[in-house]
């Protein structure tokens, strides 16, 4: 049991890392990684939202969609719930913790369009391993979000370092960031097979 969850987490964080191996959530990965601080804020926001949405969507999936045979509405239903959730969380955060809001809140609208959130919900709903298991799905979403945050933080710290390199002009900007992401993705293939 515990082993199952440990393997699940290792798998989601390192082996099948959302960004580097499944290629989900690339836009914020590339867009919000210029500064380490913002990357950390974004990472925390994604962990929060993805865990929450993982729980909510897998609950809804089990007790509404599957029960009434509405699987074909999954996409539209999930995204609706996620978008609404994010909106509500944003307003609440802004109201009740301005420090937290200034740290996380500005990233929330971005998360609606982060493939990783919807991706994890859909994976939980369609892969046998997770079907109908709300707690396991939530853990998986949490771990995947941690993997996303890890990749984001690593990547942004490297990008900060790149500001001190004489990048050739044609590679400046997005191009060198993509090269770096590529090498990071290569490095993460080394974890293949962990947890199996």
């Amino acid at each position: 049991m515990v082993k199952e969850y440990i393997l699940l987490i290792i798998g989601a964080v390192l082996v099948n890392n959302f960004v580097l191996s499944r290629i989900l959530g690339i836009c914020p990965f590339l867009g919000v990684s210029k500064r380490l601080d913002t990357a950390m804020g974004m990472g925390a926001a994604v962990i929060f939202v993805m865990t929450l949405s993982g729980f909510v969507t897998s609950w809804c999936d089990k007790y509404i969609l599957v029960r009434y045979n509405l699987e074909y509405l999954r996409t539209i239903f999930f995204i609706l719930v996620i978008a609404g959730l994010v909106q509500v969380v944003e307003v609440l955060l802004k109201r009740f913790s301005s420090t937290l809001y200034s740290a996380l809140g500005i990233y929330l609208p971005l998360i609606t369009t982060n493939c990783a959130v919807l991706g994890s919900a859909i994976i939980c709903a369609t892969e046998e391993e997770f079907m109908g298991r709300i707690f396991k799905s939530t853990v998986f979403c949490f771990a995947s979000a941690v993997g996303f945050a890890l990749a984001l933080v690593l990547f942004s710290s490297v990008r900060e370092r790149l500001e001190l390199s004489k990048i050739p002009r044609s590679f400046q900007g997005p191009a060198i960031a993509l090269v770096t992401a590529g090498i990071l993705a290569m490095a993460f293939t080394g974890f293949a097979g962990l947890g199996s």
Partner: protein, 204 residues
């Protein structure tokens, strides 16, 4: 209050109209979608069963009260193939086993003599170019013309190596370097299929 109503109304209306559209499309495409899924499976089954096969039936329990239950042995589904005369030609087993990344779903066709006719990987998640060495049968088409094997089943040395061996004792095929794990996955799936076949045969 009024703006809250407006929010509810507009979001509700969008959902209503959207879902209505979806329901419609769902109705329309439901049939074709199921047919497509079935066709894919059937196509695979046709390939692994003898070429004369015209009718394929999913093997189900014949007891009165369990009439429509699929016979599943070790997670393996069994399909019978018949020719136009209604004679049984062989059995196809759908079995899956874990490869390098995730399950590899294989179809194994076995003729009446218990000989493996053909192995086909129906679904897998292996690394393209590596794992696919032992899973995919891809026709090589060349833009320079002279297409080799443009008709018939494209060969795959690894999968073809099973052909002809007895289901009672499937051959131990040599792994292909670089894809040992995928190969093992396929071998395990074939073994599972054969095991289920043997069990089924001895039960009947």
């Amino acid at each position: 209050m009024k703006d809250i109503m407006r929010l509810c109304f507009s979001l509700g209306a969008v959902c209503l109209i959207g879902t209505a559209g979806l329901v419609l499309v769902n109705k329309i495409t439901l049939g074709p979608r199921e047919a497509a899924a079935k066709a894919t499976l059937m196509e695979g089954l046709k390939i692994v069963l003898p070429p004369e096969t015209t009718k394929i039936a999913l093997e189900t329990k014949e007891d009165a009260e369990e009439k429509d239950k699929v016979i599943v042995m070790d997670d393996v589904k069994l399909y019978r193939g018949y020719d136009s005369n209604g004679d049984e030609l062989g059995i196809a087993c759908e079995a899956s086993a874990v490869g390098f990344s995730g399950p590899i779903q294989t179809l194994v066709g076995i003729n009446n003599d218990g000989e493996i006719l053909c192995v086909l990987v129906a679904a897998h998640n292996e690394t393209p170019g590596l794992g696919t060495l032992v899973t995919d049968r891809k026709a090589q088409k060349s833009i320079w013309g002279g297409n080799e094997d443009s008709d018939g089943l494209p060969p795959n040395p690894f999968l073809d190596a099973f052909t002809g061996s007895k289901a009672s004792a499937p051959k131990n095929v040599d792994a292909i370097s670089g894809a040992t794990q995928s190969g093992n996955g396929v071998k395990n799936a074939v073994a599972k299929a054969c095991h289920a076949y043997n069990a089924y045969k001895s039960a009947n």
